[in-house]
Amino acid sequence: MAEPDPTIRYVERGGTSVLEVGGNWTVFSLRGLKQQIDKARRAAQGGARKQASVVDATHVERLDTAGALEILQLAGGPEADIQTAEQHAQLFKVVKENMCVPPKPRHVDFLSHWLEELGHDLVDLGGQITNLCAFFGEIIVVFVEACVNPRRFRIGAVVRQMLEVWVKALLIVGVLCFLIGVVIAYQGVQQLRQFGAETFTVEAVGIGMFRELGVLLTAIIVAGRSGSAFTAQIGTMQVNQEIDAMRTIGLNPIEWLVLPRILALVLSMPLLAFWGDMTGLLGGAVACTVYLDFTFVQFFDRLRDTVGIWHFYTGMIKSPVFGFIIAAIGCFEGLQVKGSAESVGQLTTRSVVESIFCVIVLDAVFSIIFLLANV
């Protein structure tokens, strides 16, 4: 807001030097104050500016706390001798009483800062691992209890979650796997044609989709779609103290929130992965009819003859494990949420990154196992 600028003058008055301020001293008029001060200091005689022990603020027109604070700071602190107009006396008093030096930000050199951060991270990691172990322990306990008393499996909740994570994911998984099938077939035809082996495209699509791509793509989509949703849902409940409320009522959040989600995802992942495999093959078959002049029947005949059933089984074996790890990480991070909405966002991101990371590591482990088992 445009307001008349504050004025500053150093004057001699009866032997003492006086700092005279006037005009408007509000938060909107203080913008160019620094230049003003410098100008006044230059204009003043050498002696005056050092020893302005008295401040005359009687000519100040409008004043607010920011202005009063700045005048007091110019005067050298709350003890300064200030003459004020009557209507501003109260305001100066309030500001004087509450004035304080803003705490200086702590400066640390690079190395100690880095060490401090590293220490914090390590401690956090330790705590995280402990929490994770406790979490898995709790899941196992609740699962065993539920096996004894199957009513505690909360079938209703499981079915509701399956609608979200399975049925509603069918479209996106189908479309993406179909496209990947097309892409692999196209690349396969291009490369294999060079040595006249383009019919092997069928094996490339079949084995690729069954063993790795179908289940991996599905897992990544599910991690981004459902794992993050789990963290956000449970995290929001944590922020709203809903989880605390559940505990005081005697409901175990693991039984009510975590187990149904894990079960739903463990059941849904194989179904989704199967669906992904099939749409991927369809994509490959469509691409082969275009680039290779195959018919659908030729494509699937060759698939049956050359791609063994174990390629399909390996993918199917992996999928429930991936489902479990995605759901467990999603729920675990949701329960780690503390305090604010900001933490929900942070942990949701972390949950997605961690679950994709774990899925790929587990995939590598599975490869080794299958290699050793010779399938």
């Binding site: 909107f28 700045e70 500001v95 705490p103 900001e342």
Partner: protein, 278 residues
């Protein structure tokens, strides 16, 4: 006033601005509501609502649960759509104010939300600096010292400035939120249940603080409150939300006002206790 509104006013025996008795005394009207209607779907929350707030006064807005106190506050602030009527803040009609004019208007009002609504990713000091940076662009050290002053002013310990809102207790968040509302020494301050959830000592301190600030800064305050002690301690007038409108009057006028809800509110056991104290 429309014919309907005038009829309604006669029926409620109010004069201009929803007042029982005219208290304007030639003072400037800093907040003026005329014929305001708020509605959500078919549910009409306020209808033909008139309210005048004069410069330098503290008005307490009370009303039963669900009568739309917070909704009215949000409507005034433009956070709810205004279905009909007119709202003037500091002489500016809020309908159709855009761009620079809107920014300027916002620089002169301060709002304290019920649960603080502090920006969770910023420290308390940075929260207070945000409006200053946006509207006044001062030097960094000056802004820091203003933030420190406001923190002290609302009675928070100096190290609060470096903390994140999530590290504060509910009462401290309320104070920090007030500090942010006061960052620009707003002429018009809106407080939503400022003392709810504070202990009685803290609440009394808070009332005292509002009184002090009003005296020294010439603040005008509209506060939604249920705290009868606050009403007695700092409020010059009380605005009661009744049947989708407000009726404004001093404490004495309200005590004498004949309406079942008002009678129960001010003459109930809690009302009497607060009155005895005051």
């Amino acid at each position: 006033m429309t014919v309907e509104a005038r009829e309604a006013a006669e029926e409620r025996k109010t004069v201009e601005g929803g007042q029982l008795v005219d208290h304007s005394d030639g003072r400037e009207v800093v907040l003026k509501l005329r014929d305001v209607r708020t509605q959500f779907g078919d549910h009409v929350v306020h209808d033909h609502l008139d309210l005048d707030v004069f410069r330098g006064e503290v008005i307490g807005l009370v009303g039963g649960s669900g009568t739309g106190k917070s909704v009215l506050l949000r409507t005034i602030l433009g956070l709810n759509p205004l279905r009909a009527g007119k709202i003037e803040i500091l002489g500016t009609n809020t309908r159709g104010v855009h761009g620079k004019a809107e920014q300027e208007l916002l620089g002169h009002i301060g709002v304290q939300f019920q649960d603080g609504a502090l920006f969770s990713s910023l420290t308390v000091a940075d929260n207070i600096i945000v409006p200053i940076r946006e509207h006044a662009e001062l030097d960094e050290p000056l802004m820091q010292s203003i933030a420190a002053l406001k923190i002290a002013l609302v009675g928070l310990p100096p190290d609060t400035g470096d903390k994140k809102p999530s590290e504060l207790s509910g009462g401290m968040r309320k104070r920090a939120s007030l500090a942010r509302a006061l960052a620009l020494d707003a002429e018009l301050l809106f407080l939503d249940e400022p003392t709810a959830g504070l202990d009685p000592i803290g609440a009394a301190h808070y009332d005292e603080l509002i009184g002090q600030l009003r005296q020294s800064l010439g603040l005008t305050v509209l506060m939604v409150t249920h705290d009868l002690d606050s009403l007695h301690a700092v409020c010059d007038r009380v605005a009661v939300l009744l049947d989708k409108r407000v009726v404004v009057g001093t404490m004495e006028e309200m005590l004498a006002y004949d309406h079942p809800w008002v009678r129960e509110y001010f003459h109930g056991p809690r009302g009497r206790a607060a009155l005895k104290q005051a």
